[in-house]
Amino acid sequence: MNTVLKAAAAYLIVLFVIRLIGRRTASQQAPIDMVVLFLFGGMSVSAILGDDHSFTGAMSALFTVGLMHVSVSWLKLRFVWFERIVDGTPIVVYRDGDWDETNMRRLRMQQADVRTAARQQGLDDLGKVAVAIVERDGKVSVIEKA
């Protein structure tokens, strides 16, 4: 019972902490982002299982996390407000040559991230970009000018 409760609590806490520290951690694979994810994983395992090294304990935690995932996914489908809280909404950071510095600062995104997305789209000039959007998963989408 203890392991199940701790696994459920850890799932929710890690989910909201990742959400609170910003969406770039979820998608960017820079060293500073990977450090956070690796350490979160390691620390959560020891907090959930503690000295319980049994197969039963590990499986109960694993199943709990799986079921929490299904439950949260169902709640996201059922309630739009819950989906927005858990996943966020897309945010425009560049439009027709103007940077939205407030959103950039809040998302801790840099111009280089948008330039990278533009290059990955095959564009060699930001002048050809109509809108750059930071998606819910933290990736940058670039929409080309018509």
């Binding site: 609170l20 000295d51 489908l77 966020g88």
Partner: protein
């Protein structure tokens, strides 16, 4: 269950910047959440939830035959120490401390330094006798344990000829 919502057409969404009102409210939630995390980290770093510079308290009984230095807030399963400073009877070569059995059981007693010469059951409690060099007026004894209790616990200790010292510890998960 309805899974298709009435979202506006995509060009309208992009033109309006998606859901800026929600993101503005979420921004405040983010700041509040980060402040809560910061406050929790500070509380932990200072030791108000155990293991820090301000985590220990000193307590003595009325006749000052025993004083202890301990953590009122301990962490479940994490090592903690209770330091006893006991008065040695004049011309005595030993000091006997009777401790609550919960100090062994619930406190998760792992070691006592120095090791007691004898352990005895005494009225549901445990009496420990420590040899002391002649001339010593105080004996320092260290109890190390990993708390196995949830919430609060009240512990006691006393010398053979002395008042009972009672203290409480609270274990956080």
């Amino acid at each position: 269950m309805e899974v298709i919502h009435d979202d506006p057409p995509m060009p309208q969404e992009i033109a309006a910047g998606f859901y800026p009102d929600f993101e503005e409210r979420w921004r405040w939630a983010e700041i509040a959440g980060r402040l809560v995390m910061l406050a929790f980290v500070l509380v932990c770093a200072l030791g108000f939830l155990g293991h820090g510079p301000f985590s220990e308290r000193t307590l003595a009984n009325a006749d000052h035959s025993i004083s202890i230095r301990y953590e009122p807030i301990v962490r479940f399963g994490a090592p903690t120490i209770i330091r006893f400073d006991t008065r040695v009877p004049p011309d005595g070569d030993r000091v006997a401390v009777t401790i609550a059995k919960d100090l062994v059981d619930q406190f998760g007693l792992e070691s006592i330094t120095p090791r007691p010469a004898t352990w005895e059951i005494a009225g549901g409690n445990i009496r420990l006798v420590f040899p002391v060099q002649a001339g010593e007026s105080h004996a320092l004894i260290r109890f190390t344990g990993s708390p196995a209790f949830r919430a609060g616990i009240t512990l006691t200790a006393r010398l053979d000829a002395g008042e009972t010292l009672t203290w409480s510890q609270y274990a956080v998960p």
